[in-house]
Amino acid sequence: MEKSATGFEFRGNAKEWFGIWIVNLLLSILTLGIYSAWAKVRRNKYFYNNTYIEGRNFDYHATGGQILIGRLIVVGAYIVLNVIIGLFPMSAVVVLPLLIVAIPWLIVRAMMFNARMSSFSNVRFNFTGGAGSAFVVFLIYPILTALTLYTTFPMLERAIKRFSINNHKLGTAPFVLDAPLKPFYTALFAALAWFLAVGAVLFVFAQDSVFQVMTNQNPDPEEVLIWIAGFYGVFFIGVLPAAVLYQALVRNAVYNHTVLAGGHRFRSNVSARALLWIAVTNLLAVALTLGLMLPWAQVRLARYLAGHTGVALGGSLDEFVGTQQTKTSALGDAYADIEGIDVGLPV
């Protein structure tokens, strides 16, 4: 990172987060999952609160009640829709297309809720994206991308990041992502190159048995085992590191081309190798301790990411101004929660 940039700092520690996490877990189980809404608030608050830049931190303001109600509505709607389709199968023709149109709307609601419930230095974030552009970005572009056999995938990636970032504001100050396509293509090619290189090496080693398994109708069980080991080998050595490499390069590209009004330029110099090392050792630590080291792993990752992210400040951070906010419901947020959609800004 350049000298002039001010770094983010993560001040949380594993011990403290372990205590909060394990109590969250226990209460969630004891209440049959109901408490998990409050647990989510505590988790977000912990990670937001502990992320600092220039002595100022982030905060999360949603309440457990809001999140629980949102979740109940989504689960209720899901059950009702299933029952309707079950009772009147023909209604699926109308209901399913309606749902597909509703998804971009829900995504936008989720992003709006999350933004408005987050603040930095007492100023709330906001999200102003419309369902119409979400429809184009999340439904039309992916179809077009598929039509080009995913050769334009980096364009889709950039469009999604642009939609997310350019519609976010800190108070009245907008974020702008203005990035060329090149780094997105570089990320894709780097990931592909890794995957192909690993595939080629494994193929050279296992060539004979691959051919034997593929041409033999009744392969020897041992050969099948080698083949399956090869499959997992490709998955763990080829696919997963390629995915981490891609994520790291895209993250750097996105941050390094994002500016917050006031001349604040974001910086990120995450290294794929370090990220992969953290991911692998985290995985081992968590697996070997029946999950008890998960809080440690999460803190470690947050600390690394914050340590390699910064802002070249264009002026004082005192100048942000918030706006009076209208109420937002947690409905979309709950939907995103349940469907596992990740649309948040990477902090």
Binding site: G12, K15, E16, W17, F18, G19, I20, I22, V23, L26, S28, I29, G33, S36, K40, R43, K45, Y46, N49, N50, R56, D59, N82, V83, I85, G86, P89, F120, S121, N122, V123, G171, N218, P221, E223, V224, L225, I228, L240, A243, V244, L275, L276, A279, V280, N282, L283, V286, L290, L292, L294, A297, Q298, D318, E319, F320, V321, G322, T323, D337
Partner: protein
Amino acid sequence: MAAGCRLNTAVEGRAYAPLSSRIYAARLACRCSAAPEETGLLAGCQAEVLDSEGRVLAAAALTELRIDARLGRQPRRLEFPDGTVFETEDHAAIEALTGPVRGSWLHSMEQFRPRLIAVAAAALAGIWLVWRYGLDMLVAAAVMITPAVAVQQIDSGMVQTIDYALAEPTGLSKQEQARVTEVFETLLAHAGEPPKGAGFQLLFRDMPGMGPNALALPGGTVVMTDAFVEQFPDEDVLAGVLGHEIGHVAEQHGLKQLYRSIGLYVVVAFLAGETGPLMEDVLLEGNVLLSLRYGRGHEASADSYGVRLADRAGYDPEGLKRFFAEVQGQAGEPPEWLSSHPNHATRLEAIDGHIRALGR
């Protein structure tokens, strides 16, 4: 200790004006119209935020402040009704101000003390209970509320898919079909009531590449391949395998597997939260392996059901065994933990056990 103003010295901290990111060095002062020790009420107490020159930035009754619950070592935030925010690291002072609240109990539980070991043990035990019993209960409840029409819908949808992608119309003669269907009907006559929403029917399809095979759909549709009837004309074998498939329907294995994989996904998502890269891929992969294991349990259970049903209906319970003994040598098998079905050797051994249990 009663809460309220007992602040002779003000609390040091920082303040933000409403809707502004500007930070002021500030302090919080508090005074009450009556001594709180006597009234025990906060109502008469007034809180004020003062800047370094002593100017009042905001003031409000203590009861009107919004004070977030304590979380780790994070600064406490006090929000005044006008939006002014005061924040401080002086936790003791704020605790004295608010007295014990719901959040303070939570905070004390979360402390990294020996007591936390008990919490962790309870949480692990809880996870084990959810995993061992909770998921099954969830699945049973979901199966119970699934409307009958929905189950039938799954069947007709899947038959359409099979016909479109995998199968050709059957090439079996009418007599052959009738012969197998009679075995099927005889078995059904000895099986109990079908579960709610299920109606049994037997379909024949020519499925190239699937070999001698049969499959059951949740609504009671059983599909048998032509290759099966051609390779195993023996009625005892047919009875064993059809009994196995009827077992899948009677014990609602299809729906249970569907709901279990959804349930596991939701439970993991709610309990683990964000796990970071790599770990979530591995969790998903582990989920697949676990659901395979669940499926193997169902296969074994259907084997047992099939053997018992065939016996009750007057067929030789050895039929199912003959089938597996025959196909055992025909194709290589993946290791058991990677397969949706138990290995043939395991199954043969278990079937022997079921037959012995019949008391012959």
